[in-house]
C-alpha cells in the first residue's frame, strides 16, 4: 500500500498480569524520518519498543509493516522484517575489533573460512558512508573506543544488513557533548538514507535537535504525536508529566 508509513501500530495493549503497561497505543513510524518516543520513567517506552522488537508479544492490537499486518513474536521475526534494535548496553564484545563486532553472528566466509579482507573493506566503506570518521582503524579493539564511538559502531552494525527501521534506546545517555553530537549526526545520516529511526530519549534537548516527529507516552497511553514543530520544550514537559498541555503549537491547538 503506497503512502502508508513503514510501521503502523494500532490499539496495541500489553498486560503483565493485572498491570496494564500499554493501553490502546497508536503510533506511525514513517521511513526516512526520526521519530522520538518520549515519556517519564514507567510510561511504557521500553515495553512499546520491546513489543516492536519481538521481545514481548502484545496482549492485543495490530502491527502493520509496509501496509500489511504482521505478527512479531520473536527477535528473529523482527530481524527478518528489517527491524534492528540498539539497546543501552550496546551488546559489543570489548575483546574483539570493530570489524569482528560488526559481523558477529553474520560472518562473511570463503570456503568455510572467515573472509577477513572483504569484511574489513565493507566495514571501512560503511563507516565512511555513515561519516563515522573518528575511528583510527577498523582493527582497533572496541574496548579502546570512546562511548560515542561505541554507540556509533553499535548503530552501524544495526543498519548494515538491509535494515529499514532502527530502534535506539537512550543513545545519548551518559555521553559527553561532542560524543552526543557524533551520535545525533549519525541518527540524521541514517534518516537521510531512508531508514526509519525510532529513538527513546529522556533528553529533550537532544530530541528537539534530531527528531522530525515526536510521540509522547504517559502512564501507558500514547497521548500525543505529531511533527516535532508542533511541540516545544514547555509543552513536551507538560505532556510528559501531566498528560495534557494548553501550550501545544499545533494549527489545531489554540494558542493563548
Amino acid at each position: 500500500m503506497p503512502g502508508s508509513p513503514l510501521l503502523s501500530i494500532r490499539g496495541l495493549t500489553k498486560h503483565f498480569g493485572p498491570v496494564e503497561a500499554l493501553r490502546y497505543c497508536d503510533l506511525d513510524v514513517p521511513a526516512g524520518v526520526v521519530t522520538a518516543l518520549i515519556g517519564d520513567n514507567g510510561a511504557g517506552k521500553s515495553t512499546l519498543i520491546k513489543a516492536i522488537a519481538g521481545i514481548y508479544a502484545p496482549s492485543s492490537g495490530q502491527i502493520f509493516w509496509e501496509g500489511k499486518e504482521v505478527q512479531i513474536h520473536t527477535p528473529r521475526d523482527a530481524d527478518e522484517l528489517g527491524i534492528s534494535t540498539v539497546y543501552q548496553d550496546l551488546a559489543l564484545c570489548d575483546n574483539l575489533d570493530i570489524v569482528q563486532n560488526m559481523y558477529l553472528g553474520h560472518e562473511d566466509t570463503k570456503f568455510g573460512l572467515l573472509n577477513e579482507i572483504d569484511m574489513e573493506v565493507e566495514t571501512t566503506k560503511l563507516l565512511k558512508d555513515l561519516s563515522v570518521f573518528t575511528v583510527q582503524s577498523v582493527r582497533q579493539l572496541v574496548g579502546s573506543l570512546s562511548g560515542g564511538q561505541r554507540q556509533a559502531i553499535a548503530v552501524a552494525r544495526a543498519v548494515m544488513r538491509d535494515t529499514k527501521l532502527v530502534i535506539m534506546d537512550e543513545p545519548t545517555a551518559a555521553l559527553g557533548v561532542s560524543q552526543t553530537q557524533l551520535v545525533l549526526d549519525l541518527i540524521k545520516t541514517l534518516a537521510s538514507r531512508g531508514i526509519a529511526v525510532l529513538v527513546i530519549s529522556h533528553n529533550l534537548t537532544d530530541v528537539f535537535a534530531v527528531a522530525d516527529r515526536i510521540a509522547i507516552l504517559h502512564l501507558g497511553t500514547l497521548i500525543s504525536s505529531g511533527p516535532a514543530s508542533d511541540y516545544d520544550t514547555a509543552s513536551a514537559v507538560d505532556l510528559i508529566t501531566t498528560g495534557g498541555s494548553t501550550r501545544i503549537h499545533s494549527p489545531l491547538a489554540s494558542t493563548p
Binding site: P75, D89, L90, A91, L92, C93, D94, N95, L96, Q100, L104, G105, H106, E107, T109, G112, L113, L114, I117, D118, E120, V121, T124, S137, L141, G143, S144
Partner: protein
Amino acid sequence: MVPIIIGMVILGGYFQLRSSAFLSAGNLTNLFIQSTPFILLGMAEIWLLLLGDIDLSVGWVTAVGAAIGVILMDTQFHWKWYLALPVAVIATTAIGALQGLITIVLKAPSFIVTLAGSLFWEGVALYLIDDNNAGGTIPTQGGAIHDIVNSNLTPLVTWIFTLVVAGGMAVIVFNKDRARRASGLDSAPFFETVIKMVLLLGMSIVLVLLFNTNRGYNTAFIHLKIVGMPYAVPIVIAVLALYSFILFKTKAGRYLYAIGGNVEAARRAGVAVNRYRLLAFAMTGFTAGIAGLVYASTLGGISDGIQGGQLVLYGVAAAVIGGTSLYGGRGKMIHALIGGLVIGVIFNGLALIQTSASVEFMATGLVLLAAIAIDAVARRGASAVGR
C-alpha cells in the same frame, strides 16, 4: 609475550652459567620433551580459559587417557597403536564433553563441576592403574606410546619437516600481506615481514642443527648415536597449528572469543552459546588425552603415584605465563607453547644445578604469580592492548 621470552632467555643464561650442560644438545632436546606435557595441558586449558571457564579435572583426565592407552596397547590387550591411541583420546574427549554438558545443564560454575570431576577421575585413574595387578605401575613396552618421546625423525626428515613448516608459515604470511595490499588495506611493510621470516628461518635452522647433533654416549666402549627430532615435537606443532587455525580462521573460533568477551552480546548476535561451550569442553578433553599419551611416554608408563592435581595447575600456569587471560576472551594457543617452555626451563635448569624439589615448586609458583600479576595489570590498563 615478549617480556616472558626475554625472561626465559635470562633464566636460560643463568642456568648455563651455573651448569655448562644446560645448553648442550642432549639437555635442550630433553627440555623440549619435558615441556611437551605442560604445553599440551596449557592448550587444553586455553580452550576454556578463552570462555572465562576453567577445567580443574584436566590432570586426572590426562591420567585416565594415559592409563587407557597403555592398558590397551601395552600391558593387557596389545591392540595396534592406531586403534588404542584413538580410543584413549576419544574417551577423554567424551569425559570433557560430559563435564561440559553437566556444567551447561546445571548452569553451574565450571570450576565446581570439574573439581568434582577431578576427584571422580582420580578414582577412575587409580582403579585402572591398580586393577592391573602390576604393583601400581603399568609400563609402556616399546610400542608407539614409548616412541612418542623416545624415537626420532631421521636427520633428513627433521630438515624437511622444519623447513616445510617454516616455509609454509612464510607463504601464509606473505600471501595475507599481498591480499591485503591488493584490496587496498594497510599491511605490515614488506621489509618488516621479510626480516621476521628470515628470523623464523634462522630459528628453525638452529633447532634442526640442535636436534641433529648426536646426543648419544660416546665412550671407549659404547658408541651410541641418537639424532633427529623426537616425535613429540611435530605432534605439538601439529596440534598448535590445528588449534590456531580453528581459533583464527573459523566461525567457531570467532564465537569462542565473543562468548569470552561478552556472552550476552554473542547470544544476541545469534551465536548458539551452549553449542560452542560444549565444543570447548570437548576440545579440552581431546587435548588432555593427547597430553596423557605424551606424558606416559616421558614417564615410560603410568603409575598410581601420578600427581594429577598438580598437572592441572601446570597446565593453567603454562597458559597464563604465556599471556592467556584468566578472565576470558583474551589468549592464543601459542601462549601455551611459551608458558610450557618456561616451566620446562625452570624444572630442567633447577634439576641440573641440583636444587631440591622444594625450590622447583617455589620458583614455579613465583613465576605463575608474576604472570597473574601481569594479566591483572593488563586487564586494568584498558583492554586496548591486542589479544
